[in-house]
Symmetry: C2
Subunit: 254 residues, 2 copies
């Protein structure tokens, strides 16, 4: 938070998609001009929201489709007594609202974790995408399948890994996604999660999350300071989490 690291992309989504800072990060598949123009036409707005803002409310209908441009958000579900499960974290480039577009209420909520800026698409633009640009429709499906892979990973983590493995998994996974987006700076990344977020993502209690995090830190595996995460021994974390990722694929960006 306090480290004076310049952001990789400007804080606001520029009006022209071809000027989009995200597309310059090499994390996304390049698009043809016609496709880019189409996307630009489907955009209704660019908005900024503060940390904590409810982008999608659990159990409510919402037909807006959003792309996260800067900041972090997360999808979650809750039980009536307050127990909360974070389903996955959303980083720049991730699409929000796919599920809700398909009619019906949202089965999950989406909350901004930091201040965020987003692209807002017109209502019903999803169907228009499929009609006008099958390739982009295909990309949307790719994104849906890709997001499901993240949830699959998290389900394996919550269901079958112990506390140490879970924490190692989370740190590694997030670090790599951020690095991929060019958001790593001299071996560290901004890390705005509270331990409560981590606990809710991993299916652990807050106290136990704290103790596990502490232990890994004392073992010299990572360092969490000033709102930034540094992996001091990524190999050890890989072994613990049993998480060896190959080269991550290029992602489509809408």
């Amino acid at each position: 938070m306090s480290a004076p690291v310049p952001p990789a992309v400007p804080a606001f989504c520029p009006p022209a998609c071809r000027a989009c800072g995200l597309r310059r990060t090499r994390a996304f598949t390049p698009l043809e001009r016609a496709q880019l123009d189409f996307i630009e036409g489907a955009r209704a707005d660019a908005v900024a929201v503060p940390a904590g803002f409810a982008l999608v409310r659990e159990g409510q209908a919402s037909t807006r489709l959003l792309t996260l441009y800067t900041g972090w958000a997360f999808r979650y579900k809750t039980l009536s007594d307050g127990r909360r499960q974070i389903l996955n974290f959303l980083l720049p480039g991730d699409l929000i609202g796919l599920q809700q577009e398909f009619g019906g209420d949202s089965a999950h909520g989406v909350e901004a974790l930091t201040d965020c800026s987003l692209c807002v698409f017109h209502h019903d633009s999803l169907w228009a995408v499929f009609r006008a640009h099958p390739r982009l429709g295909y990309d949307v499906t790719w994104l849906a399948a890709h997001q499901e892979r993240h949830v699959d990973d998290n389900l394996l983590t919550a269901g079958r890994r112990n506390a140490t493995e879970r924490v190692a998994m989370l740190l590694l996974h997030l670090y790599r996604r951020l690095d991929r987006l060019g958001l790593a700076d001299q071996g560290s990344v901004a890390f705005p999660l509270t331990q409560q977020h981590i606990a809710d993502a991993l299916g652990l209690s807050l106290v136990h999350t704290n103790k596990t995090l502490r232990r890994l830190s004392l073992l010299g595996l990572h360092e969490l300071k000033d709102g930034r995460l540094r992996l001091l021994n990524p190999r050890a974390l890989e072994r613990i989490a049993e998480y060896y990722e190959l080269e991550p694929p290029l992602m489509p960006l809408l």
Copy 2:
């Protein structure tokens, strides 16, 4: 298994999609003739596999797209020491192989849980679907998003529900999906899962799954006999699992 209940659809997928038994169940959205013909043209084969057959191998590339016609299957991931997490169960009408179609190795395996019959689509037919019939492409995305909802539910279950709630959730959820497909017969459905499957789906140990299942059964909430499941007190199960589903939507079927 041993109960002499006639199957709701014939055991084999007929060569003509318009004769497809699944489409008569009213669980799926009706299609236009042209769309149906296109799907029929994309079909390469109809196959039957025995229980235990590996439809998709974990970590291997596979570009086949399948639709489950009869029987049960499940998606899973494993850790190197054998711990296994079942991600979700696949029932008739579910699409298999979406993730793998998008290049790269499969991050999960798919195994037939019972004898299954399936429709096999031609390689690259997915992209052809998007090109030729945007509406069907949209449907594929709907299916991807819908499957993710199931995984979301399972993640909430594994991460935040206790053993009793987990088991209640599973019984209720599967019963409803089967009922929806017209596979319920006088208040009971075929239930081919072993307790090991249930344990692996819920992130519990086999022993604890057994004891929890036993307790719910002794409380008169359900009956599991002769390979069939009967919910004796669905309301109580709903309250325990905190799972009140509205009318399930019509699903697309490829």
